[in-house]
């Protein structure tokens, strides 16, 4: 009997601890911040965390202390993910401001323009492309080397995708001077050139540098992928140009979109073994493994089944809620997916998206429950394989 094993992963971001956020903002730390560092240092058994506590006891942290603070934040995030039981980790993007801003800041050709509302009182910083973008050198190497040297788990490096960078940017370069009355073809062609340049001149050199440094898995994050269905071919072109010739495992993460727009274009993704999608956000919280129990999964999983490619990174945790999914709920979501696809080996397991809007307490509980739920599903499937009881 072959053992059923679902690989568990995170997707990307974690909230930054208050001591890290305040240190980088130049704000004084309070006792509560130091207490948090101690609490999590103990809970996660972060080796040597007493050194961090000593560092945080300095009355006023300066620029010289920031690199060490950054390293500690990354170390704490890694231990959080490891202690929760994940097989595949990164550092919760502790060193990055935000997925779009991180790339724009490290590239030539982008200029900041100001804040735009995301929702409620949440805003994001938006830049304009003013010339063909490029980078002087790969910019995530040191971050990766720290992660690789600090964990014994599999490392997956998240990179913001070319299409999302284009879609979330203002265009003051490619669209040309005359835009009023421009045809749809002219607008598409301008965006195609923009995507190609970001892919070839920003993402690809960074990905190559990471692989040369030892990275074995690159995850391209494309939250904007399905927002304009007629532009999904540009998403595919961008992915392929971003990782062409890169000798590593490659996957793509997409979320909060209408996934029907992705097929059949995603069949042209070159060497992308998996799409990691959000499902739990739109699913019921009831237990069960029938279609009516899993409204968030049914339609999209059939797309994976019917087209046969690629594999699925199954989102089983809702990242916009403090609700801690019980292990049984995770189990049933996973069993349902295995049943629809007919092949558990096509499935790996993760939260819907990055968890940075949740507190670490909630994150730990959710991830630990996810891992427990995965073990329950594996046990059910193994028994089914052995013929002792139906799945």
């Amino acid at each position: 009997m072959s053992r059923v094993h679902f690989v568990t992963r995170e997707i990307g971001s974690l909230a930054k601890p208050s001591w890290r956020a305040k240190a980088f903002a130049g704000r004084p730390l309070g006792e509560a911040d130091r207490a948090e560092a101690e609490r999590w240092g103990r809970r996660l058994e972060v080796e040597g965390h007493e050194q961090l506590l000593e560092l945080l006891s300095v009355p006023q942290l300066g620029e010289a202390e920031l690199p060490a603070i950054d390293d500690w934040a990354a170390r704490y995030a890694l231990r959080l993910l490891e202690r929760a039981g994940l097989d595949v980790v990164y550092d919760g993007e502790q060193r990055r401001t935000e997925m779009y801003d991180h790339v724009a800041q490290h590239s030539r050709g982008f200029e900041p323009r100001g804040s735009v509302r995301a929702f409620d009182n949440k805003y994001y910083a938006k830049a304009a492309v003013v010339e063909s973008p490029s980078i002087d050198a790969p910019y995530d190497i040191e971050e990766f080397r720290f992660v690789a040297g600090t964990t014994d788990r599999i490392v997956k490096v998240p990179l913001t995708g070319a299409y999302t960078m284009v879609d979330w940017s203002y265009d003051e370069h490619y669209a040309g001077a005359r835009r009023l009355g421009a045809s749809a073809e002219q607008r598409y062609e301008a965006r195609q050139r923009f995507v190609a340049d970001v892919a070839e001149q920003v993402i690809l050199p960074n990905a190559r540098g990471l692989v040369e440094a030892g990275a074995a898995w690159i995850q391209i994050d494309e939250p904007a992928a399905a927002t304009k269905p007629h532009e999904v071919p540009l998403v595919v072109e961008g992915f392929n140009a971003s990782v062409r010739g890169v000798d590593a495992k490659k996957s793509m993460h997409i979320c909060f979109s209408d996934y029907r727009a992705l097929w059949p274009a995603v069949l042209e993704l070159e060497d992308c073994f998996e799409l990691q999608l959000e499902f739990a956000n739109r699913d019921s919280r009831a237990l069960g493994t029938h279609d009516e129990d899993r409204p968030g999964y049914a339609e999209t999983l059939r797309l994976f089944r019917d087209h046969g490619y690629p594999n699925v990174g199954l989102g089983v945790l809702d990242i916009h809620s403090d609700f801690v999914e019980p292990p049984e709920l995770v189990r049933d979501r996973l069993l349902y997916a295995a049943d629809v696809l007919g092949d558990p080996e096509r499935i790996q397991v993760n939260p819907d998206c990055g968890l940075r809007t949740r507190s670490w307490d909630v994150v730990y509980e959710k991830l630990a429950s996810m891992v427990e739920g995965v073990r329950l599903a594996e046990a059910v499937l193994e028994r089914a394989q052995a013929g002792r009881e139906p799945a």
Binding site: N121, Y170, G181, A184, S257
Partner: protein, 299 residues
Amino acid sequence: MRVFVPGVYPRSEALVQATRDLDRGRTTEEAVGEQLEQDFQALVAAEEDAGLDLLSDGMLGWQDLFRPLAEAAEGLDARPLTRLLDTNTFYRGVLVEGEPRLRTPLEAPRLPAGRWLATLPSPLAFSRAAQGMASAQALAANVLAPQIEAYAAAGCALVVFSDPFLATERGVPELAAALAELPAVVPLALQLPFGDASPVLAEVAELPVSAVGVDFYATALDSLPDGFPKEVIAGVVDSRSSALEDPNEILAFALELAGRVAGGVSLAPNGDLQFVPEPIARRKIAVLGAARTALGAGA
């Protein structure tokens, strides 16, 4: 040819920071209110400087097109985050928990009577934000109608209904039936932001509204039926681009458009200006004003 700026206007960086600080417990509601007032005054000043024909309060206190009305109505709530069209901005979808009915109308902006416009969701857009769980007619009759009465009593000169979904999801007959529930106390306009309006232009020409807003960064001029009977609110400033438009290009386009429509032309952005940062939005208002000035100089 009138010029005005309906919809949600972007908050200044100071107001953005103030609302962030409020969420994190670092400031007070009063302080945010003071900054909100400053932003409002700055917007009105920018509109006056540009010579706009109608003033807008920029809906600076609105989180999105639906939320304040949903919260002011019995039977409605706003919760699930929903992407607005293909943008990276989200609204909270409306939940229907009972018969929707406006409790108390939203306060009208402090603007001179007869010189201001209001923006509201179209009844059909409101219904779609609620996943159809409340009908457009019921929302028109019991939520939008009393709000319009209140705005009209406070001197509103134009109500612009924003409908981001009509061009793709259709439903003009349903919208027409809902509009019939509204009081005839103030002129009504329908704006179709951010998208190709050509699939519905012939139908919307029959609606009981005095003007129709069209995004001419997505809609070909040729798709406008010859002799279009309604006033066209031409979306000639791109609210999703940081690049500043050329007032002369706008003027030339507006004159060409005017030759094709029977109901006249007004100039406006193609959607809410909240999709650009405030300093850029302010410059875009100035561009509209410059186009208007050039039109007057050439008349």
